[in-house]
């Protein structure tokens, strides 16, 4: 297999960069440097995450103590919490915006945006992204989307409140719920900006990966992080535009009197003129993005943890090829399973059967990945950095949440589980907790690369254990509420005798959530404190093989001061027998590691094999060169 790497065009022009002056504005605000953009994505994502987490604490308080007043809430929320009680429609707004922000703004933009931008050029050996300008635009569109989304808290009728899936007609008719007025308009506007941002980012990631790899960096020598963000970008590029179409049609229905999603509706005693539309159409369009979206959220997290687990187990990732093929399998399959969100929506039941089959197939590559993680840990030499702890956390959450997917993917079982807390538990474990763990794992691991300083380990440990235990305490009991038939998005459980037995569980869950939430402050403090006061980082603090650790600690535009390094090997030569150190960076040629080379290292290169054979003879080593 030949390498497609093209020598970087910026090589010659590069010196010019050192001369131009960077103002505060061009360096920190309208930066076109991928590292700065990554940091912008990350910090915006963290701020949004805390905002969304705060919203979740608010509605958890309502769920735990539905009969109690919290006058302080009125201080913050005014009429939305009159007398210290959250109003039912505002409760739905909280749920909606929490979900939207977490899924799109934190786990999509915050995760992909940060690590694709940071790692694609650094791990592939490129001076920057293919189109730095578009990259900058991507961030600023994302930023505007965030601003628009948050601004919906300042409109009279409140933020969107039809759930993060904004199913019409509820989202189309302001008469149905106040949040479907201006709030929903802002939601839709924000989403259009957001998707534009994702598409620009995605095009950039894909073209950079395909065109700008350094010499020797063939596709099969790319770290799994890159495979993951690359495939994620492809999924996003193919699915996000479909969401735009769904959103645009919804905008038409809302403001131009079309009937794409509306038909036969009486609301507020008024018969609406719309005819012939179908709410199911929206669901098809939404989930055509929506399901790939959950893998857009998960795959980068899997990529980051693959890298971190290999590095900190001091072992090659087990089954590198299988890992890549699983990712590819997930990428392809993720487009044909969306119907599993619609088993009981009135979609043709036969179709439901088909989607059940495709859905359960997608569990196979997921299972393979899990086993490969476990095999990587086996006989490792595990170093528990905070990043590694979070990586292990991800594996655990991925298993727990993936297994409940097998219930939901089964359409017959889904009849009773759809739209209950079981679903909430499922996706908060597999998507929420697992991806957040992956993201935090990435932050702890690449922090030294981003900020040139180390985060405090001990606070990281505290943060991990609070998050890990907290998330299980919050989400595990929810499965049982779902099995009992408690629907999600319920404002209170007080109106049904059978739900009242869950009230104590709700109190427990809320306390767990509050404590886990406060645990995140350890991270927040650690993150910002360390930017200025953290211990100075060394160049390669984790003794890692990948290219980003060959760049100087101090950032410079263009990443490498001299020539871009050439790559000679895959990124996972950890603890190779015969080599002194337990890691061999990708930039070390085989000629420098004669004592540890293995047959498959030469990829059939006869000359190299000949040289190795001679060396072996000289040093009296026996080694099988063909396999």
């Amino acid at each position: 297999m030949s390498s497609i790497a093209i020598p970087h065009a910026g090589d010659h022009g590069h010196d010019a960069h050192e001369h131009h002056h960077e103002t505060f504005l061009t360096k920190y605000i309208f930066s076109q440097d991928h590292k700065m953009i990554a940091k912008q994505f990350l910090i915006t994502g963290i701020i949004m995450a805390f905002f969304a987490m705060f919203l979740s604490i608010l509605f958890r308080i309502q769920l735990a103590w539905p009969e109690k007043d919290f006058p302080i809430l009125e201080v913050f929320l005014g009429k939305w919490a009159e007398g210290g009680r959250i109003r039912p429609d505002f409760f739905l707004s909280l749920v909606t915006i929490h979900g939207t922000i977490m899924v799109f703004f934190v786990l999509t933009a915050g995760l992909s945006g940060t690590f694709s931008n940071l790692l694609i050029p650094l791990q592939l050996g490129a001076r920057d992204m293919a189109s730095p300008f578009m990259n900058m635009l991507s961030y600023w569109l994302f930023f505007s989307a965030c601003v628009v989304m948050i601004s919906s808290f300042f409109v009279e009728s409140g933020p969107a409140s039809a759930g993060w899936t904004i199913y019409p007609p509820l989202s189309a008719l302001p008469q149905a719920i106040p949040g479907s007025g201006t709030g929903m308009t802002l939601w839709l506007a924000s989403m259009v900006l957001f998707i534009a941002s994702q598409v620009m980012g995605g095009i950039n990631y894909i073209s950079t990966v395909l065109n700008m790899r350094t010499k020797g960096m063939s596709l099969w020598r790319m770290p799994l992080t890159i495979w993951a963000v690359f495939l994620t970008a492809i999924v996003g590029l193919l699915s996000f535009p479909v969401l735009v179409s769904a959103v645009v049609l919804l905008i038409f229905d809302r403001s131009m009197g079309t009937s794409f999603y509306l038909s036969d509706i009486i609301i507020g005693g008024q018969i609406l003129p719309n005819e012939g539309g179908s709410p199911i159409l929206f669901q098809h369009l939404f989930w055509f993005l929506g399901h790939p979206e959950v893998y857009i959220v998960l795959m980068p997290a899997l990529g980051l943890t693959s890298e971190v687990i290999a590095t900190n187990s001091r072992k090659p990732i087990f089954g590198y090829h299988a890992m890549v093929y699983s990712l590819i399998g997930i990428t392809v399959l993720s487009f044909i399973v969306w119907g599993h969100h619609m088993f009981v929506t009135g979609m043709n039941p036969f179709l439901g059967g088909v989607f059940m089959i495709t859905t359960l197939i997608i569990a196979v590559p997921s299972a393979v990945k899990t086993f490969n993680y476990l095999a990587t840990l086996w006989r490792g030499n595990i170093k528990f950095t905070p990043a590694m702890l979070f990586a292990i956390g991800l594996v655990s959450f991925f298993i727990s949440g993936g297994l409940t997917g097998i219930f939901l993917g089964n359409s017959a079982l889904d009849i009773n589980l759809h739209d209950t807390y079981f679903v909430v538990a499922h996706f908060h474990l597999v998507m929420g907790s697992a991806s957040i763990c992956g993201m935090l794992c990435g932050v702890y691991h690449w922090y030294p690369k981003m900020f040139g300083r180390m985060m405090n380990d001990k606070l990281g440990y505290l943060h991990f254990w609070m998050t890990f235990i907290g998330a299980y305490l919050v989400f595990f009991p929810m499965h049982f509420m779902g099995i009992d038939g408690v629907p999600r998005r319920y404002y209170s459980f007080t109106n049904f005798p059978f739900m009242q037995e869950w009230l104590t569980v709700n109190v427990f869950v809320t306390w767990a959530a509050i404590i886990a939430g406060l645990g995140q402050v350890a991270f927040l403090f650690n993150f910002f404190y360390s930017i200025w006061f953290g211990k100075k980082a060394t160049q390669n603090p984790w003794k890692s093989n990948t290219l980003e650790w060959t760049t100087p600690v101090e950032h410079l535009h263009g990443n490498w001061p001299g020539e871009i390094p050439t790559v000679y090997r895959w990124p996972y030569d950890y603890s190779k027998p015969g080599h002194e150190d337990d890691f061999i960076p990708q930039t070390v040629p085989f000629s420098e590691t004669m004592s540890s080379n293995l047959p498959h290292d030469f990829e059939g290169d006869a000359v190299a094999e000949q040289i190795q054979r001679e060396w072996d003879k000289e040093h009296g080593v026996e080694r099988e060169l063909h396999h």
């Binding site: 039912p88 359960l360 490792g380 030499n381 595990i382 009992d484 038939g485 629907p487 109106n495 059978f498």
Partner: protein
């Protein structure tokens, strides 16, 4: 340098706390229970309670459902709210701010303690180092051990949750197809639990066993095609079995032959914000046609009485069904999406405006039998809304009663027809008016739409 900064940080907050304590001696006692103070300042009377209850559950009113009154405890808080709002005219008791401030302080205190503990660990490590001992705190061992503990505590916790929460959650299904769903649920639970336990034993076990000791090198083991094939194929087989099992169950539930469907008891359920209307097919067991355009205040469902099979349609106050007889639900919505959900029967189907959906099932146990089984004389089957639909979503319910055939007949006789005298009058009036205006109407329709 950094050390000194830390001290400043700490002293500042100690000072803040000291001043707070001076200002308000019993700060923490109150922070412990903020609502206690409010209860002291307001007197609650039973009338106010009742008032608050009706104000608090507007949604219930619209459904006209008495179940809403089943909020047994804690309504005094509502009365507080109402009263506070009346008395104070929106001004917020300063105590509220104080209490909040105490909680914030409490949190800072915890942070400071964490900081101090962190410092102690750091100092401990430094002294160990200065004394020339090789090792600092062995964090790898620490976490490895924690993972091992997590494994045991976690597995026990999961077991406890299965036992405790599981018994709260799990009730035998009250429908015939539900039995099949349940056995599949149990099978899936057993399989997934085994996988869950094994993988976690491996994950946390490996974390414990293979923690770095600094003396060992990891085992270079990049791949093993055979093992990888095995663990691709085994899950694939298990999943295939589950899929087949599931597929046929699903088909058997949803793919009801037309004649069987026709013979079943016909019941139509129509959702709207935030209530359900139940319509029985009546003597002919046929549900009359509807058209949304015919909706009037009297004819809420827009039933088309030109269709004679609608004349004997009966409005059910609840859903009452005879045991052991197949019933076919036709589900509709007047406004937005709702979801017709009866967890006890493993029945769920969305209510979609403009598109009727169906679900057929056969109840197995009467309400009385289920009460006995569950040893709960208060028990009732419920039907509730599972699709987010607005403010009243959380309380959009109907009671479901399963009774003997005789009781069912008796009950049905007490229910009223949709085609009541008033509706008849309206229908006749519209018919005679229609004859004259029909053509004009049609033209107008064409223009409007």
């Amino acid at each position: 340098m950094r050390y000194r900064k830390y001290i400043n940080f700490r002293t500042i907050f100690s000072l803040v706390i000291a001043t707070m304590l001076l200002l308000h001696g019993s700060a923490f006692a109150q922070a412990g229970d903020s609502t206690a103070t409010e209860n002291d300042t307001t007197v609650s009377s039973s009338e106010l309670q009742a008032e608050a209850e009706s104000a608090g559950t507007t949604a219930a009113d619209t459904t006209g459902n008495a179940v809403a009154a089943a909020t047994p405890e804690g309504t005094s808080a509502t009365s507080n709210a109402v009263q506070a709002a009346q008395e104070e005219e929106k001004s917020i008791d300063p105590q509220v701010y104080k209490n909040f401030f105490y909680y914030v302080l409490l949190f800072f205190l915890v942070c400071i303690i964490v900081g101090i503990v962190g410092k102690i660990i750091q100092v401990y490590e430094l002294t160990r180092e200065m004394q020339g001992r090789a090792k600092r705190v062995n964090w790898n061992k620490f976490h490895g051990t924690l993972f091992l503990i997590s494994l045991f505590v976690g597995l026990y916790g999961a077991y406890w949750s299965y036992a405790h929460h599981g018994s709260l959650a799990w009730h035998e299904s009250a429908s015939e197809h539900g039995e099949r769903i349940d056995s599949m649920f149990i099978t899936t639970t057993v399989i997934t639990t085994i996988v869950f336990v094994l993988t976690h034993i491996l994950l946390f076990g490996f974390s414990f066993v293979y923690k770095s000791t600094g003396k060992r090198k990891a085992y270079f083991y990049p791949h093993n095609n055979l093992i990888e094939k095995i663990w691709t194929i085994v899950p694939a087989i298990v999943l295939t079995v589950l899929v087949l099992f599931g597929f046929f169950t699903w088909r058997s539930i949803t793919n009801v032959p037309d004649d069987v469907a026709k013979d079943a008891l016909q019941v139509e359920i129509t959702g709207e914000q935030f209530a359900w209307t139940v319509r029985y097919g009546g003597k002919d067991n046929k549900i009359g046609k509807r058209s949304i355009k015919l909706t009037t205040p009297l004819n809420g469902l827009g039933i088309d009485y030109n269709d004679k099979s609608a004349w004997d349609d009966i409005m059910g106050s609840d859903i009452v069904l005879p045991v052991g007889k197949p019933v076919r639900f036709t589900i509709n919505s007047k406004d937005i999406l709702h979801s017709f959900y009866m967890p006890d029967f493993r029945v769920q189907m969305n209510a979609v405006p403009g598109m009727a959906t169906h679900f057929q099932m056969t109840p197995r146990y009467t309400t009385a039998e289920m009460r006995e089984k569950l040893n709960n004389p208060e028990f009732d089957y419920v039907m509730l809304c599972a699709k987010i639909c607005g403010q009243g979503h959380y309380n959009m319910q109907k009671t479901v009663r399963i009774v003997s055939e005789a009781e069912y007949k008796e009950w049905l006789a007490t229910q009223s027809y949709f085609f009541s005298d008033d509706v008849k009058k309206e229908f006749k009036a519209s018919q005679s008016a229609n004859k004259g205006e029909q053509e004009e109407d049609n033209k107008q329709l064409a223009l409007n739409y």
